[in-house]
Amino acid sequence: MIEYLYTNAWGAFIVLLMFQIPFLIVFFHIVNKKAFIESKPGKTRPEKYSYYRYSWIALVLVAFVVVNSASIKYMPTVVEANSASDPNVKNVDVTASSWAFQFSEREFNVGETVRFKAKSTDTVHSFALHHPDGNLLFTLMLVPGAGTESAVVHTFTVPGEYTVRCLEYCGIAHHAMKNTFTVM
């Protein structure tokens, strides 16, 4: 469950709803009550406000710490750093320029772990890899002259046709800057 939340963009959608729905319920309940049902001032004691205030801030802090702590092992920055000296990781260089990608290698097998190192030669591009089901696996922002390539490590678990796209607007043929490769 936790792995799904952090390795799939719909996981972010679920967590977003977990933040938003309680807020909406409480907010509309209080506004509705005070606007239409019982508009006179509340008689809640001052210490009750303090209790709710501290409880609310504690809840927010705990939620934020838990959400971020649990995400650490799934952060692409962490995964890439941890695999820096792994000899089993295949290195693939990607060069982006308006409006095409060039790969040093483009044949991959299921189970293979690949480090994509990407750079741009002209303007800002991105190297984004879409799963055969359409979901975005990752995107790398490529700023020319950034000093080093952007990098990410990915393990292919599903065979099929993967689509590479540029997600940073790069001119009037930006939409045509895409490519595909097959994972066997």
Partner: protein, 499 residues
């Protein structure tokens, strides 16, 4: 009669929203009214362009139209609409609270620079300068060198952007700082006295300082490039400014904090207005201290959270900055949480009078919090790599502008009687708020879901899987336009308070 009133009187329909009589409060009313009216004209253009984008895809009119309209739509929504509306209301509020004139040379310069700049950019875009409103440098130069647009349109477009940025980064902040600290008080203009200790005033001053401080480096870099394009600076002088990394960072430090500054200002304005709508007449927030603490937390955490725009550059962006940006982005949520508590505790403790103005303000606040949650989620490093560059991010930029604008439109409802000596049409206003909120919710979740499904933003050739999101964009986009038409009608149908 002031020049502002003359212009308003001559504009069909939109001018009818601000029928201002000559009286002693003209110095705080006329130019803000002209700015608000002009911002609504820009919105009308931007909204039609917004709905046109999915329509262009369905009718297969070509990507060039799409990129033209997305550039015009984004630029018009962010600058001459949302920002100009904010300036209009903040100048009126500052003038009436501090007893300072809002009709001097700074105000008229702001108006001219903002709208002339937006017009120049519009002409450049219509001539082919299709860069989108975020100006991903060095795309403007690369595009000109590749023949995507001419060098002439590049110079025209950059000149327009320079005028707009000058109005936002220098003219408006300097005017607010002058009003707050230096100009003499005119008692006849001070309708609702407030001190600089008031949370509303503090939020406004924080906001303009953020614009001035984070915008000045961008003006230096962009100004150097523009002077080179004019042939004044030789290429050897501007090599440092033409570095893509330099431009990208100064641009996003400003662009990110522009949104944060607008948010801090509007939260301050909510803190100032909500107590005026309490049922017990106490005119007090639950706690001024907690309100001010929330503003400070929002200010100090938002400044460096801009790193979340660059997480996916890793390792070109060292991971330490990514983690810092991640933590600071979530820390802004603590400021947001304190704000939520202060507002709800104020409502609970003092009760509220359910006027259209207050409902639009509270509705805008709900929109702002919903959007803020989406921004915080995407600021986690793990999720950012899966959502950056998708419709999730594009939707966040769009709906935060709608949320902030809705809040200022609620403020306009509240201040309308003072500005025009007229009262809004209540039932039309309530209908407008209802449709505005429904369309916002619809657009928000459409964009967020499209992003989660991997749909790219700013892509001129949609694939068949994405069309379903386009259908919802058109439905809720048209509803949003309808809500704004009702909003405009609630002002044109206003009645004089003299009767």
């Amino acid at each position: 009669m002031s020049a502002a009133i003359n212009i308003i009187d001559k504009v069909p329909f939109f001018g009818g929203m601000f029928q201002i009589e000559s009286n002693e409060l003209n110095p705080v009313n006329t130019w803000p009214s002209l700015m608000a009216m002009t911002s609504f004209i820009w919105f009308a253009i931007a909204a039609i362009l917004g709905v046109s984008m999915p329509a262009i895809q369905f009718m297969e009119l070509g990507s060039n139209w799409y990129y033209q309209n997305i550039t015009l739509h984004g630029a018009a929504m962010a600058f001459p609409f949302a920002f100009q509306l904010m300036v209009a209301m903040s100048l009126h509020r500052a003038g009436a609270c501090l007893g300072k004139r809002a009709d001097d040379i700074f105000v008229s310069l702001f108006y001219v620079f903002m709208n002339l700049g937006a017009l120049l950019l519009t002409v450049a875009v219509l001539l082919g300068f299709h860069v989108t409103y975020t100006v991903m440098f060095p795309l403007p130069l690369v595009g000109a060198s590749m023949g995507q647009w001419s060098m002439g349109t590049l110079v025209l477009g950059f000149s327009g952007i320079a005028l707009v940025l000058t109005s936002m980064i220098f003219i408006y902040p300097i005017k607010i700082l002058k009003m707050s600290f230096f100009e003499k008080t005119d008692d006849t203009l001070q309708v609702a006295e407030r001190t600089l200790k008031d949370p509303g005033m503090i939020g406004m001053i924080m906001g303009v300082l953020v614009l001035l401080v984070t915008g000045t480096p961008l003006m230096i870099v962009a100004g150097s490039l523009l002077l080179h394009l004019y042939g004044i600076f030789p290429a050897a002088w501007i090599g440092w400014a033409a570095e893509p990394v330099v431009f990208e960072f100064v641009f996003y430090i400003f662009a990110h904090n522009l949104m944060e500054a607008m948010a801090i200002m509007i939260i301050g304005a909510v803190y100032a207005t909500l107590p005026l709508c309490t049922a017990d007449g106490s005119r007090k927030l639950y706690s001024d201290k907690i309100a001010i603490l929330a503003l400070w937390i929002l200010l100090v955490t938002s400044v460096t959270s801009f790193f979340h725009h660059f997480f996916t550059m890793y390792p070109a962006l060292p991971s330490t900055f990514a983690y810092h940006g991640n933590i600071m982005s979530y820390a802004t949520g603590v400021g947001g949480a304190l704000t939520i508590f202060t507002i709800l505790a104020t409502i609970w403790k003092h009760g509220i009078i359910p006027t259209p103005a207050l409902f639009l303000i509270l509705g805008g606040f709900v929109m702002y919090i919903l959007d803020g949650a989406s921004a915080i989620v995407i600021s986690n490093v793990a999720w950012n790599f899966k959502l950056h560059g998708t419709m999730w991010a594009g939707g966040h930029a769009m709906v935060v502008l709608i949320a902030i604008s809705a809040l200022w439109m609620g403020m306009l409802y509240y201040h309308y009687p003072l500005m025009t000596n007229r009262t809004i049409d209540d039932s039309t206003a309530r209908s407008s708020i209802k449709y505005l909120f429904i369309s916002y919710i619809g657009l928000f979740y459409t964009f967020i879901a499209a992003g989660a499904a991997g749909m790219p933003r700013r892509n001129g050739a949609w694939e068949s899987d994405w069309y379903i999101y386009g259908v919802f964009m058109i439905i809720f986009g048209v509803m949003l336009i309808y809500a704004f038409v009702l909003y405009f009608l609630s002002l044109t149908r206003s009645k004089s308070l003299d009767y």
